[in-house]
Symmetry: C2
C-alpha cells in the first residue's frame, strides 16, 4: 500500500487481534469509529481500561468480580449447601440469566484436556475440594457437554464421590425448541437414556 | 439478571454499539479482553482515542488524513490531471491497494439517495467542480455499482460533462475469479455491453 494513515492502521491492527474479527471487519469497525462521536469512543476506551482495572478473580469461587469475595459468595440469600461447578466465568452469567439456580458457584478455569496440557492440577479442583469442608450437600457439575467437559465431569464425580458428597450432572438431551429430525445421535441417545 | 458486574456490563454495552456486533459477540469479546494482557488492552484504548484526535478530513479532497492537505494531495509524484471520485474514504484505501491509480481523489461523502435525503447539495459536488479550475483532464467516477452509486455517476457525468471535462466510469462486469453461472443478469448484461 503506497499510503498509510498511522493512527487508523494502528486501530485496525489492534481491532484485528480480537477473536472473530479479521482485517476487513477491523477496517469496517475503524471507519465506523471515525464517524462516531468522540464522547462515545472515549466511553468505549474507558470501559476497556476499567474492565482491566476493576475486574478480578474471586478468591473463593474464582468467578470474575469487582469485590472480593464476589457478590454471589457474600450474598446471604444464596444457598451455601449447593455448589455449581462451571468451566468459565462466562458460564455463570448464562446460568444466572435463567434464575433457576440459587446456590454458589465454582469456576474451574477450563476443562481437562491432555492434548493442550490441561491436567487436574491446572484446574481449580484442589480449591473446590477445600470448599467441601463447609456444609456443602451437593455439587452440580455444569461443565460443557463436550468431550473435555464430560471427561472433567467424570473425573470430578469420581474424586468428589470418594469424599462422600452428593454429585449431580446437569441433564443432556434435546434443546427446547429443537427438532428430533435434526438432533445428532449422541444427544438423542442421551435424551433417551435420561428420560424422566 | 440477579447479579451484575458493572464495568463488564458497561464494556459489553459499548461493544454492542459497533456495527455487526450483537450482545452475544460483545460478551465474547469482553471476556476475551478480560483475559488479555493489560498493556494490549491499553494499546487498543489508546488507538481508539488517537484515531478520534488525529484523523481529520482533507480540506481539498475530503479523504481522511492526519495532515491537511492529505498525503495524496501533497504528493508531487501523483498525476494532478486525473481525479477519481469515490463515495467514502474507505474506498480510497481499497483502490490504493491495487497500485493501479496514480492520480488524485475526491470523496463525495455518500451517494445520491432521495429516500434518505441525500441530495447533490449534501455531497461534496460543489467542491469537486471548484477543483476543475486547475489542469484537470479527466474525472473517473468510481462510485459503487449500486442504484445510488449509478445515479450519482449519471448525475455527475451530466453536470461535469457540461463543464467540458472528460468524464469516465469504472468498468462494471464479471468479477475476476467469478463464474458466469452465478452472475446476476444486470452484471452479465453490463459485461456484454462493455465488452472490449
Amino acid at each position: 500500500m503506497s499510503y498509510q494513515i498511522n493512527s487508523l492502521n494502528q486501530l485496525i491492527e489492534n481491532l484485528a487481534k480480537l477473536p472473530g474479527i479479521g482485517k476487513k471487519t477491523a477496517q469496517r469497525l475503524a471507519f465506523f469509529i471515525l464517524k462516531t462521536e468522540r464522547s462515545e469512543v472515549m466511553e468505549l476506551a474507558k470501559a476497556l481500561v476499567s474492565v482491566k482495572d476493576n475486574v478480578k478473580s474471586c478468591s473463593v469461587c474464582f468467578n470474575i468480580t469487582e469485590t472480593d469475595p464476589c457478590e454471589v459468595c457474600t450474598n446471604p440469600r444464596r444457598d451455601k449447601s449447593i455448589i455449581c461447578v462451571v468451566e468459565e466465568p462466562s458460564n455463570i452469567l448464562t446460568i444466572e440469566r435463567t434464575n433457576e439456580f440459587r446456590g454458589l458457584y465454582h469456576v474451574l478455569g477450563g476443562a481437562l484436556s491432555p492434548l493442550t496440557g490441561v491436567s487436574p492440577d491446572t484446574l481449580k479442583i484442589r480449591e473446590l475440594i477445600s470448599r467441601l469442608e463447609g456444609d456443602v450437600n451437593e455439587i452440580i457439575l455444569a461443565t460443557n457437554p463436550t468431550v473435555e467437559g464430560e471427561a472433567t465431569a467424570i473425573y470430578l464425580s469420581k474424586t468428589l464421590g470418594n469424599l462422600g458428597v452428593k454429585v449431580t450432572r446437569i441433564a443432556r438431551g434435546l434443546p427446547m425448541g429443537g427438532d428430533i429430525e435434526y438432533a445428532d445421535e449422541v444427544t438423542l441417545a442421551k435424551a433417551f437414556a435420561n428420560r424422566s
